[in-house]
Symmetry: C2
Amino acid sequence: MIVDIHGHYTTVPPGVEAYRGAQIAQMGAPTKGKMNVTDDEIRKSIEDGQLKFQRERGTDVTLFSPRASWMGHHFGGELISRYWIEQTNDLIYRVCNLYPENFVGVCQLPQTPSDPLANCIRELDRCVSQLGFIGCNLNPDPSGGYWGAPPLTDRYWYPFYEKMIDLDVPAMVHVSASCNPSFHATGAHYINADTTAFMQFIQADLFKDLPALRMIIPHGGGGVPYHWGRYRGLAQDMKRPLLADMIRNNVFFDTCVYHQAGIDLLTKIVPVDNILFGSEMVGAVRGIDPETGQYYDDTKRYIDAAPTLTAADRNKIFEANARRVYPRINAKL
Amino acid sequence: MIVDIHGHYTTVPPGVEAYRGAQIAQMGAPTKGKMNVTDDEIRKSIEDGQLKFQRERGTDVTLFSPRASWMGHHFGGELISRYWIEQTNDLIYRVCNLYPENFVGVCQLPQTPSDPLANCIRELDRCVSQLGFIGCNLNPDPSGGYWGAPPLTDRYWYPFYEKMIDLDVPAMVHVSASCNPSFHATGAHYINADTTAFMQFIQADLFKDLPALRMIIPHGGGGVPYHWGRYRGLAQDMKRPLLADMIRNNVFFDTCVYHQAGIDLLTKIVPVDNILFGSEMVGAVRGIDPETGQYYDDTKRYIDAAPTLTAADRNKIFEANARRVYPRINAKL
């Protein structure tokens, strides 16, 4: 079985954007209202998108969450975010009910900057306990490119982490759109956030305090595996734990790296127990690579071709690690 | 000959920090004053530091600039920055005069946020025309981690770029300290800035407008080579030029990547004409890698061992590319 742990619902029917658009006029008096999307619209958007690619590429199940670049925590206040997030998580729930063999839910969170984490704790609980979701996306920068939140290692986040542990679900560290003109969203902000989160983890005792906490750093860990020597050296100079020890039970990288040489480096350098298969299709890069004739984001091909991996390694990356990091998936498969 | 294009004076005598410290009390009425550093102090700091490592590692010449993490453009107003930058550039000049065989000057710039670029143009001219420097470090984020400046492709920067072209000197894109608790300076802010700058270059027509402009992205290009497929794909989706065409005469990566697998990826993926040898010693990572028994930042060893490079490739990386990108070096060697 091949589990893709990184998929967002990027091919949504127009009712989703219409709902969001209407929120702009409601900022003074938000109402939850209704998201006008039919089951038939969902079926079409999924069958022409995710499901088609799952079949073509030979993957089985996608951990599916709302579109990351649309999380948009920078927009509006507490109620705006809460309604938007609840509606879009409910939409994922509908997808998972329509295609229970192909999708398992992962939620986004109402991380309005400056609002209490209590809303996030409540929404995580609702999604896991009532909707059967198995993980969440946690935005380290709800300001959208201005980085005003405390580092992920700050005790500010601990009540949320305790809820994650209580529910036995991990978080993928994933930013949303960039409002800062310096940072292209998928070309800079995403990769920067991944790199930033990993360095934050090196600097503090988060996983010593919360040994059951599990975090996935997407996009192949940002710039980290390429600079693995730099991070090993920085940790050493700072008298911090060895990277391999620090990440062992707590930090995982996906395989959203869109060329063979990058995946070869990832799979050579990072312990195989800490790598989870992901593609983020249909996502940041949608074209076909003229050098290979295949989609850039068909990352399964790169894993299949990575020279240092054994069959047992591939089984870990494709399935076994996902079962360990997202244990609630076992009841779904 | 082996030219290390990325060295900062990180082992300065205590008079440098004392000068900076005194500026805190002068913020209301800055005076240029004097930096109390003797030639003997310079000799000792260089011979115990940079020069010792040059000899041990078998490199010949270092392009030498003031310490990057101390550029500190976020601190103080126009005069504070101007005095600090002039003093430290003059200090580099003294090093280069004491060791003309071993060091060639690269300047920092008085990039006070919100102050006009005219000061930077004037200081670049002074350093190149009067002190014999051959390049500069350009900070894309003078705010120190809050990213308030326009992207490097904005016309705001063009008058400075025109001066660079006029003087035939390149810029290394290099941030300084991070004031933002989210970003560790050398572990996140540096790598993020490299990634950010490259994506900015993809998005705009900077090098079409200014074909003689040359920019070096340090630290092996941040996260870019590891994600080369992502950037090729993003450029393709955005109908931008091929990366190889975009960088050819304009964008160069150094080799400050502190493990063999990283250098192997860099030298395999990035055209060899766009790679310049750099180590950034004595810099961000000062320890010895227990896996190799060698300094992490002894990057010459990795270039020597990179499997895809020929002798001609190594000559380009170690010397010929530096002569082309920093043409004023030819009068110095």
